[in-house]
């Protein structure tokens, strides 16, 4: 009794193969990530130091550090998020919670989807025409952030809509039937329960903003623009109407545009870029966790 039949043995074998295969493919994913990070850090090791991070590039980039581009990317990321997160989240709320299903809504949705598919170099051209020239921002941190915002908006809108749609309709029904307005429902029930999903969408845009080069190329980033390394001016190193340096661009410069840059410095710059992204994303994830644990509801 209860002994296994041949067919059941076969099923068990297949089961084992399936489990092992899935595990191997997961490893296939993890290994390159670890390999890239290890390789970068090992190659960068000789050049990594606090001074490298805290000094401006000097001597035609051949010595000094990466302070200016690091600060530039930091500013770019936060300014971009400050523009695109509120707009994107509010638009997502409108589309998911208020908009009726009519041709206008459908056109807007279609536009959002298509905007997400536009290559970044096209965003760059648009940003140059719209923000730098037409709106007269010039090549500046603001123009670059606006361009980046346009690029990240569709993703934020879409992820916001998805997060909102995941909140069960029965919660809304309960609220509406007690006489709550849509906004009361959104503020007290829907948003608190979708906040972590919404923030996840926003967080994913951080690394994209920090990593892209094309959209800022014509709109604000420059080859060399040192910033104050200390003192009062270092609190707000770049003003929004100035051009700035950025890590992605700086890495490109170090690798292809200037001679005599040591390989260690190139790798160290790459490590710093990855580190910055991890730092900002980590901060945002921390915020998300904090929000999740400290909600009053």
């Amino acid at each position: 009794m209860f002994s296994s039949t041949p067919r059941e043995k076969r099923r068990r074998k297949i089961e084992r193969i399936a489990a092992v295969t899935c595990f191997l493919f997961t490893m296939l994913l993890v290994v390159p990530v670890l390999a890239i990070l290890t390789y970068l850090v090992v190659r960068a090791w000789p050049a990594l130091s606090l001074d490298f991070i805290l000094e401006n590039p000097q001597n035609l980039m051949q010595s000094g550090g990466i302070w200016a581009p690091l600060v530039g990317t930091f500013c770019l990321v936060w300014l971009t998020l400050a523009i695109s997160a509120p707009i994107g989240i509010l638009a997502g709320i409108y589309l998911n919670e208020y908009a009726r299903d009519n041709w206008f809504t459908r056109v807007v949705s279609l536009a959002v989807v298509n905007l997400a598919g536009v290559p970044s170099i096209v965003h760059a051209l648009f940003g140059f025409g719209a923000f730098v020239l037409t709106l007269g921002m010039g090549k500046s941190l603001l123009a670059a952030s606006c361009t980046m915002s346009v690029m990240t908006l569709p993703v934020i809108i879409t992820s916001t809509r998805e997060a909102l749609a995941a909140v069960p309709i029965s919660f809304r029904m309960a609220c509406w039937n007690m006489g709550a307005t849509r906004w009361q429902t959104i503020r007290t029930i829907v948003l608190p329960n979708s906040m972590s999903g919404i923030l996840t969408g926003v967080i994913l845009q951080i690394s994209r903003t920090a990593g892209e080069t094309a959209p800022i190329l014509f709109t604000g980033v420059v080859f060399y623009a040192p910033v104050a390394e200390s003192g009062f001016a270092s609190i707000l190193p770049y003003s929004v109407d100035q051009p700035f340096m950025a890590m992605s661009m700086h890495l490109f410069t170090l690798m292809t545009q200037v001679r005599g840059v040591s390989e260690e410095m190139q790798y160290a710059t790459a490590v710093a870029l990855v580190g910055l992204i991890l730092l900002i994303s980590g901060g945002a994830i921390g915020l998300r966790t904090w929000l999740r644990n400290h909600r009053r509801w």
Binding site: F171, M173, C175, W176, N177, M178, Q184, W297
Partner: protein
Amino acid sequence: MTHKHDEHNERDDSIQTEGLNLWYGTFQALHDIHLRIRSRMITSLIGPSGCGKTTLLRCFNRINERFGYVRTEGSIRVLGKNIYDPDVSLSELRKSIGMVFQRPNPLPISIRENVLFGLRIHSERGDFTRAMQDEMVESALRDVQLWDDVKDQLKKRAVHLSLEQQQKLCIARLLPLKPQVILMDEPCSALDAEGTEQIELLLEQLSEKYTIVIVTHNMGQARRVSHECIFMLHGRMIEHDSTFTIFNNPKNPETDQYVSGHYG
């Protein structure tokens, strides 16, 4: 159609409809409904699936309008007031007409906050002191006989309660708003026999203070709890009478078939 209302006057009615028609797009879900729901009584809506019971219930607080493609015709009076009058505030209307759903849907907040939710929506911050709030929570939970079960865990999230307790909570959260009418859409269909019995007992008590309209699929339940019964078929009201008459001496052969088919 049968009306048996000669023995009471209109002032006893909580809800009256006249010539009520409703369309979802081009599909007509309600046909020419004339009915009167008597105050402080339990009226049950019975009829096969898809006959329009939920739709009718949702007319009474105008929640159907949340679907953009719904069109309503005819008049609905609640407590004597035509709810389609231009000066009617939907928020106030829904405050005095509570709705309980098929699946218990407590909000993802604490038990205490669930009970106070309606109040928070309809009042400004600071209108009620902490002590008043505590009192209201206790009295609402006592009214649904939930207080003893949950008094030590008011801060816990409501979704951790059993289905039966959740459904009681969904009733309790209506009470601080002092509703006149409570609409219930198959409130026991997600519950086991024990839970159903509990809710039925509760209905009995609540009907002393509130007008209750309950949709039910359970013939036994309609017989046990309701004073009057409305039988619907294909979007039409077929018969409205006292529960006893509907079950023992219906005028309409279709009613007879329906009620006997379910327990005969």
